[in-house]
């Protein structure tokens, strides 16, 4: 029956010479000219975006990307040792932590080492590395000293990334070599006292001078990494923009390159923080700072986009960094487990310890697999990695917290001591769940961006269904897809992409993706636009998405290991199997919970509990010892 519909469709389509046939796998509908309104459907190449439509687009995940050519690989491998040597022989993370600062001599060595311009083109004195190569160095930072990592990251991953991504030729010439070789620090200044996650609500304002040559910048920023040392900052401020179509005046965010030397730029004292103490964090104030018009970055009114692009672009680095941090924690834990004897046996012999060690390694493997999937897709030129990058940031920061915590647990009392260095790592890495988009906001971002994408598809389908005669191809494809999912045949098949040993596990992931698509649709039907207010549900959906991505990247990487016959292939296979079992179970639960009545009732009760406690201003119970 289905086959009949398809062949009929194919004939008809040939007649109308429209490429509907590809619609089943990749709604490539660019060529449809007839009804522009109903046929304009924006298609994303992102794997994660498409699972919101219940579809699998394999190009970005299968086979596991492998973008570095031999020369590029050799280059990065030749940089690894000297970079590591700096950390083992010159830098001391515990000393930096103790002093809450990095020694001047150590910083100078870092500048000499070339660590401040890793992705800056060689013509400006940088190393000109791609994202994947940068990621490999981030791993070393993460394994050795997160404070140094943040100092370097605040400088180049966000501080002047805007100049690399949006800068004019003139801006690049003026700033990049200074920022790479002349010991000039950069910072990224977005957050304000009243504007954290809600970045669009910043109050810093820039007013254009009457002659149009300058902007006068006023406002203050908080928690700016390198705020006390940066001489060049990427600053975001509200500017008044006139809508060309309507003539209406509106506030839009604009990005500026601000030099301390412009005058009027000051900063507060270094903040006293829980961790990453040696990284300089301050408030920064702008008092009538005269910013030349040439220092607008990325065009007037485009600041929000500039900020989000910079943050999106830098996020993958956190995954790679924390993969390195986890390696360090695992090594500490394993050293201890291999040597510590209790009850007459090495503690590595005990199930309690073994389970921890396995779990820690599985999370590390998935984090690393995500980071290098994303970095390599970015290097391939993909522009649509924002969901994946957000997921990898969430996954990496939460996995690292777990792994470090468990490493401390394995070491027991020893782990609680400063000497073991794990307490510092735990404090240092806590910030990763908060900064550059809190994990909570990123979860909503993932769910809502995906849902919006799915909704555009649904609207498109709705229009197609209203006029099935003209859109027979689309309608029949959709019907056949739905028929096959609903009768359990499944339209998603991992088998061509993964190792035979993993087929059962690929099936689990495929089932998750199918249920995911259906769940999104169900939510859209049920809540419509109001889905944006259903944070409890969005969080569950997002968690399901994260689990799916972790399964897919590990399935892909382990299959690569098998194909290349790597000596660690069996080990990678084992970790992938366990991860798929855990993640698919959790994912299915979360997806069911987006609509299960019992869960929705529970959510209502939780809402009520939170409301009561907030009204009371604290715990709202009657103490057992009371008259």
């Amino acid at each position: 029956m289905i086959r009949l519909i398809r062949s009929y469709k194919f004939l008809r389509l040939r007649k109308t010479s429209v490429q509907y046939f590809s619609a089943r796998t990749n709604m490539d509908l660019k060529d449809i000219k007839s009804d522009t309104k109903s046929s304009q459907l924006k298609n994303s190449s992102s794997f994660m975006m498409n699972i919101f439509r219940g579809k699998m687009l394999s190009a970005e995940v299968f086979p596991y990307p492998d973008v570095l050519v031999a020369d590029e690989k050799e280059l990065i491998l030749s940089l690894v040792d000297p970079f590591e040597k700096f950390f083992t022989e010159i830098n001391s993370a515990s000393r930096n932590d103790e002093n809450s600062s990095i020694d001047g001599t150590v910083l100078n060595k870092l500048w000499e080492l070339g660590a401040f311009g890793i992705q800056v083109p060689e013509k400006y004195g940088g190393l000109g590395l791609g994202n994947t190569q940068y990621g490999r160095l981030c791993e070393i930072l993460g394994a050795n000293d997160l404070s140094v990592g943040i100092t370097l990251g605040a400088h180049q991953s966000i501080g002047f990334k805007g100049i690399l991504l949006f800068g004019t030729q003139q801006q690049k010439e003026k700033y990049l070599s200074k920022l790479t070789t002349e010991k000039v620090y950069a910072a990224f200044a977005l957050t304000e006292p009243s504007s954290g996650s809600d970045a669009g609500s910043i109050r810093t304002r820039a007013v254009k001078s009457d002659d149009g040559n300058y902007f006068i910048l006023n406002g203050s920023k908080i928690w700016i990494s390198n705020g006390g040392v940066a001489d060049v900052m990427t600053v975001f401020a509200q500017t008044e923009q006139v809508d060309l179509a309507t003539g209406e005046k509106k506030d839009r965010v604009t990005a500026f390159i601000v030099e301390r030397s412009f005058g009027g730029v000051t900063n507060g004292p270094p903040e006293k923080k829980m961790g990453i103490k040696a990284s300089n964090t301050t408030e920064v104030y702008f008092d009538n700072v005269k910013v030349p018009i040439d220092n607008v970055l990325g065009g007037e009114g485009n600041g929000f986009k500039v900020a989000m692009t910079i943050l999106n672009n830098g996020r993958f680095g956190m995954g790679a960094t924390l993969a390195g941090t986890m390696k360090f924690c695992i090594q500490k834990a394993v050293e201890h487990a291999n040597n510590r004897v209790q009850f007459g046996k090495k503690i590595k012999e005990y199930g309690c310890i073994q389970e921890k060690i396995s779990q820690m390694n599985i999370l590390q493997y998935a984090t690393e697999s995500m980071a290098y999937t994303i970095s390599q897709n970015m290097d391939k030129g993909s522009k649509e990695y924002h969901l994946e990058a957000a997921i990898s940031k969430i996954f990496a920061s939460e996995s690292a917290w777990y792994v470090c915590d468990e490493a401390i647990q394995i070491l027991g009392g020893m782990g609680y001591m400063k000497e073991a260095e794990l307490e510092r790592v735990l404090r240092d890495l806590r910030i990763f769940r908060i900064f550059e988009g809190t994990n909570d906001i990123l979860r909503l971002f993932v769910a809502l961006t995906g849902i919006q994408y799915a909704a555009s598809n649904l609207k498109f389908l709705q229009r197609a269904f209203k006029n099935p005669a003209n859109n027979f191809g689309i309608v029949s494809t959709e019907i056949s897809r739905r028929v096959s999912t609903s009768i359990g045949l499944g339209t998603i098949d991992f088998n061509p992409h993964i190792a035979p040993e993993l087929q059962n596990y690929g099936k689990k992931a495929a089932n998750c993706i199918e249920l995911f698509g259906k769940s999104v649709e169900r939510l859209l039907v049920r809540y419509g636009k109001n889905i944006i207010n259903e944070q409890y549900i969005l969080k569950r959906l997002s968690n399901a998405a994260i689990d799916i991505y972790s399964m897919v990247v590990t399935l892909s990487r382990a299959s690569r290991a098998i194909k290349l016959n790597l000596p660690t292939a069996q080990h990678e296979l084992n970790m992938t199997k366990v991860l798929c079992i855990q993640a698919s179970n959790r994912c299915m639960d979360n997806l069911r919970n987006t609509s299960a009545e019992s869960e929705l009732e529970m959510i209502d009760v939780m809402e009520e509990i939170a409301r009561e406690v907030c009204n009371k201003g604290g715990v709202n119970t009657t103490h057992v010892i009371t008259n």
Partner: protein
């Protein structure tokens, strides 16, 4: 102004715990981290110092070994050497390569390149031969300054402070000469990342021993390589008498 030839050997990294191959023909090198012999790093650093003082005009880093030896040449280039020569020896010839072969190669290259000074590490941390500098000097019939602690240029040649068992010895040599670097000669610099990138563009010439007219046919045969014996567990004795008794029993006193 003089040209300096520096010998750099690729060895198993000092931090690696070496393991003997099951067939006892040598140690496991596959998948093991390698780096430049630490004494050779000191030799390279000394050559760079001479160049910075304008005593040397050009530094040529030489490594004898398989293709991977080019890695240590690149490191030398990143530190500051000007160009590299890779003398390719691999397989069984390399496994059994001895200082006698290397010294002949270095001597021939020194003549070909018109070098005025050869600096090598006093020994390699893998086979600990401590012969290459001495043999090279002999082949060339040049003066030698081994175990250098300090090297100073004078009008007549070099003032060299050497580390010897009893302390330090100062000698004078003429140039050309062969030097070997001891541990305290200097602290080698780090190869910075931009310099590593630049090193990729520096010239690296590949030659074979045959090109140089040196025969590297093995002259030795490895009979067996053994792990050091595992230390026997100790035992506690209750008092001095018991200790003396045990020692007598073991024939130690």
């Amino acid at each position: 102004m003089s040209r300096v030839l520096v010998g750099v050997k690729r060895v198993v990294d000092y931090a690696v715990k070496v393991r003997v191959k099951p067939d006892k023909t040598g140690v496991v090198t596959e998948g093991v981290k390698h780096s430049m012999n630490p004494f050779d790093e000191i030799a390279v650093e000394e050559a760079i110092k001479l160049k910075e003082k304008k005593i040397a005009s050009e530094i040529i880093a030489v490594s004898v070994g398989p293709t991977q030896s080019q890695e240590v040449i690149r490191t030398a280039l990143a530190m500051g050497a000007d160009r590299g020569v890779h003398v390719e020896v691999s397989g069984k010839d390399y496994d059994l390569l001895q200082p006698i072969h290397v010294s002949k190669i270095l001597a021939k290259l020194a003549l070909d390149e018109k070098a005025d000074l050869i600096i090598v590490g006093k020994q390699a941390i893998d086979d600990d031969s401590n012969q290459t500098a001495q043999m090279t000097a002999a082949v060339l019939d040049w003066p030698q300054g081994t175990f250098c602690n300090k090297v100073e240029k004078t009008d007549a040649g070099l003032n060299i402070t050497r580390e010897i068992d009893g302390g330090l010895e100062t000698i004078k040599t003429k140039i050309p000469a062969v030097l070997s670097a001891d541990l305290r000669l200097n602290t080698p610099r780090y190869a910075t990342l931009p310099n590593i990138m630049k090193a990729k563009k520096k010239p690296l010439k590949k030659v074979t021993p045959k090109d140089l007219g040196v025969d590297t046919t093995p002259r030795i045969e490895v009979v067996s390589v053994e792990e050091p014996p595992v230390r026997q567990a100790g035992a506690l004795v209750p008092d001095v008498d018991a200790l003396v008794g045990k020692l007598k029993e073991g024939g130690h006193i």
